[in-house]
Amino acid sequence: MPTIVVEVMPKAELLDPAGKAVAGALARLGHTSFTNVRIGKRFELTVEGPVTDATLAQAQTIAEEILSNQVIEDVTAVFEAK
């Protein structure tokens, strides 16, 4: 089935306590090449029938209005999975 992927990230200027906790764990494990971790979300929307410009536009709307909260998050990508 065709799938549309939506990616949502916490806004760059906001503290991401979950990412910070993971970054701390990586440092404790000796993975010192990685200085920062930010954790976002990936949604996979299964589409009935082919993905059209209209379904992509609808997914964009859903992404902005329901899947993310624009006060604290940004929609960083909406695309058809290959």
Partner: protein, 230 residues
């Protein structure tokens, strides 16, 4: 006076809120998230808990529940609505209050008896407090960090819409120590701490007089009672 308490899948403190309403002298009415019916109540409480397991974002899925259409409509017409903890998260997700709530800055769940200052005692839920009154009610959350844009914060502060502020300790990294908000009309109020857990001696926060004797939360519910009766 009849005050509705809406139960969502994953609500925890709906029964506590109902009991608080009874102790304040009003009649609690259990409402169900899946209905489109407020059963003629005079005010509404959105209780604490973990609706939908905090999936997507805290309060996000609940804010799209069937009954929320009626809640939003009633709130816009002036009905008193109080959102406690998860209920506060629902109010911001439903855009009845501005800003958002994110994971506590220290990354841990926090449970403490919290001092807050009543910054606005003219809302439907705070008229029984004196301006600037400091009260102690329990706080318990993992995602209670209040955030908003600089512009929104300026507006909240300028218009007196910060209803409650954390005192002594900022327990979750909330900007400007914001513990709760009101809308400009004063009928919609949301806060992270739990007034319904400080309404009955023996089951509240400790006070200087006696252990667990704190009942500072009761005034939220007596305030709304007087407002509707007058």
């Amino acid at each position: 006076m009849r005050i509705g308490v809406i139960t969502f899948p994953g609500s925890l403190d709906d029964r506590d809120a109902q009991r608080a309403i009874s102790l304040a002298g009003a009649e609690p009415v259990a409402l169900w998230h899946g209905e489109h019916d407020l059963h003629g109540v005079d005010a509404i409480v959105l209780p604490g808990g973990f609706s939908y397991g905090d999936y997507l974002r805290c309060g996000a899925i609940a804010s799209h529940s069937p009954i929320m259409a009626e809640v939003i409509d009633a709130a816009n017409k002036g009905m008193p609505v109080l959102g406690i903890c998860n209920g506060f998260q629902m109010l911001v997700e439903a855009h009845l209050l501005p800003g958002g709530l994110i994971r506590n800055d220290h990354g841990k769940f926090v449970r403490r008896d919290q001092v807050i200052r009543v910054e606005n005692n003219t809302t439907a839920w705070t008229t029984d407090f004196t301006a600037g009154e400091e009260i102690v009610i329990p706080l318990k959350n993992g995602e209670g960090g209040y955030i908003a844009s600089d512009e929104t914060l300026k507006q909240l502060e300028g218009d007196g819409l910060v209803a409650f502020r954390y005192m002594g300790v900022n327990p979750n990294g909330s900007l400007n120590d914001i513990a709760g908000l009101t809308n400009p009309r004063g009928n919609v109020v949301g806060l992270m701490p739990h007034p319904e857990h400080a309404v009955e001696a023996g089951f509240g926060p400790n006070t200087e007089v006696r252990m667990r004797s704190g009942v500072d939360g009761l005034k939220f519910f007596t305030s709304v009672l007087e407002g509707v009766l007058s």
